[in-house]
Amino acid sequence: MDRERALHIYATMNRIRKFEEKAVQLFEANKLRGSVHLYIGEEAIAATVCSQMTDQDYITSTHRGHGHAIAKGATLDRALAELMGKATGYCKGRGGSMHIADLEKGNLGANAIVGGGVPIAVGGALAQKMKGEKQFTVSFFGDGASNQGTVHESMNLASLWKLPIIFICENNGFGISVPTWQSTSVKDVSVRAAGYNMPGETVDGNDVMAIDAAVERAKTRALNGEGPSFIECKTYRWKGHWTGDPETYRTREEVASWMERCPIKAFRAYLLKNGIAQEKELDDIENAATAEMEAATEFALNSPEPDPAQVMDDVFFVG
């Protein structure tokens, strides 16, 4: 990994973290409503995966999608404005936290139906293949979605048609309160890839370098027309499923042990240890993320509400 990309990943992880911390703060201050599913603790995955993508490559995202959107190029101000339902948000306040989409950056949208975005990603990859583009698609989904029929059907179809797609399962250990062992018949979700004749591997989802290497293999395969790959990233969400989750299904000790393995801290240590970056520049990156988030917050707070007179716009395209 070159230095520039490494620093970009570090910056993205920090920007996601600051965004999520601000989101929870605003939620608790009653400045934003609805469901807010935080990506804190999982930042390495989106930041690393999307660092290997261009704006012409597609992603589909999930209800826990802020990190994916930011990593794929969403700006913090418009993303936060969307969480606050403002007219300046990515979806003009129509989508909120669970539906950030930015087609110009190749984000085909976050989906609040678990597993719902995966067939859409297959369609994105099909379009890329049929247009003869040298592009690929990544579908992010969770361990919960990995049991949905659409995910299995999508793996089958993508493999059959040799589509340029990477299935990225973010296994954070829980579907709301249900631990993966209680919902999922296999220990490593990636073994299911074999059933669809594609390579599958499980990596430490808090380890940027491990994720990066797996994505590089999968991307090469996709762009060579060899078809899809499956990568399971084992990780953990530090916060509840949603803001306000009583979290009676896990212990504080378990959460604390994962916080010890913070992906941002770990990557920072890696960058320092390998002489890729100095303390000062990493501090600067973190401070820049904080400053960007403050400005984004000002922007979102001061943005106008959408005009109810426009509530019927865009039900259909009128051309």
Partner: protein
């Protein structure tokens, strides 16, 4: 003009549109070699190849979803469902995804997707292969609903559907596939959405019908004519957008409304039309609107039972007379 069957009109329109635009392609079950079980894609793979005429595994939710994704990513997919009953298997992708993407994402995305296939009675296919399900899709904003009743309308509406930048559900009727009619040869022939067609003019009672029931309504109108009752028969062609004005105007003339469809009567599209007409033309009505539709039970296999469930021509005649207090 050429004389074509309804099925061939559909097939030829798909072929013309695939010639017209490289982004148009079709996928579905058994469409490649077999040409679909009703022949609506016959020989298309020979002309366009298997990249653009794709056989899918039996996974309706996912290949409909792939259509949604491909459309959002700039293609113009046509997804064939072997039976429109199978929309139920793909409901999340149709109603939560295709219908909502444009609006929910703030109006940036376009989803030029056609989901088409046949439905209805006529082949003894029983409960899961004989339903008429178009009314359901009228209820959810974000999708258009087209229901052609003749070969020419099948061709003209399908062209409009394929060129529309919104998701369109296109309902064909299995019992109409072998019916013949004149179809314009012009590869630009299109019928706009949202314009109802008056199939027969009349002055005493308005009968609104779609798909197979247009011919049954016309049959009833012919019987009524002999008894001195002049029925006007209207086919809305598209339920979304709905041309309520043509229907209202007709009722303002006749003072009576019958809606008749093969879809279930309760909560069917006829109920919506009856409600809108009542709102817009209450004082013109000389009798309460009458809704005819399939009885509220599963479509049975046995022919006699099937006929007992769906409206018959004599019931349309009776309803018209009832509306005239005869």
């Amino acid at each position: 003009m050429s004389i074509k069957t309804y099925a061939v009109a559909i097939r030829d329109t798909i072929a013309q549109e695939m010639r017209h635009d490289d982004k148009v392609f079709i996928m579905g079950e058994d469409i490649e070699v077999l040409g679909g079980i009703f022949g609506c894609t016959r020989d298309l793979a020979k002309e366009f190849g298997t990249e653009r005429v794709r056989n899918t595994p039996i996974t309706e939710a996912t290949f409909v979803g792939a259509g949604v994704g491909a459309a959002t990513a700039g293609m113009r997919p046509i997804v064939e469902l072997m039976y429109m009953d199978f929309t139920y298997v793909a409901m999340d992708q149709i109603l939560n995804q295709a219908a909502k993407i444009r609006y929910m994402f703030g109006g940036k995305a376009k989803v030029p997707l056609v989901i088409r296939g046949q439905q209805g009675i006529g082949r003894g296919n029983a409960g899961q292969h004989s339903q008429s399900v178009e009314s359901l899709f009228m209820h959810i904003p974000g999708i258009k609903v087209a229901c052609p009743s003749t070969p020419a309308e099948a061709a003209g509406l399908l062209r409009t559907a394929i060129r529309d930048d919104n998701p369109v559900l296109f309902f064909e009727h299995k019992a109409l596939y072998s019916t013949k009619g004149e179809v314009p040869d012009d590869p630009e022939f299109a019928i706009p959405f949202g314009k109802a067609v008056i199939k027969k003019e009349g002055k005493d009672v308005t009968i609104v019908a779609n798909l197979l029931y247009v011919s049954k309504a016309l049959e009833a109108a012919a019987i009524l004519e002999k008894e001195g009752i002049s029925a006007e028969v209207i086919d809305p062609l598209t339920l979304v957008p709905l041309d309520i004005d043509t229907i209202v105007k007709s009722v303002q003339k006749t003072g009576r409304l019958i809606t008749v469809h093969e879809a279930h009567r309760e909560g069917g599209w006829g109920a919506e039309i009856a409600a809108q007409v009542t709102e817009k033309a209450f004082r013109y009505l000389d009798s309460p609107p009458i809704r005819l539709g399939a009885k509220q039970c599963t479509l049975p296999f046995n022919l006699g039972l099937e006929n007992a469930v769906v409206p018959q021509v004599d019931q349309i005649v009776q309803a018209a007379k009832q509306s005239l207090y005869r």
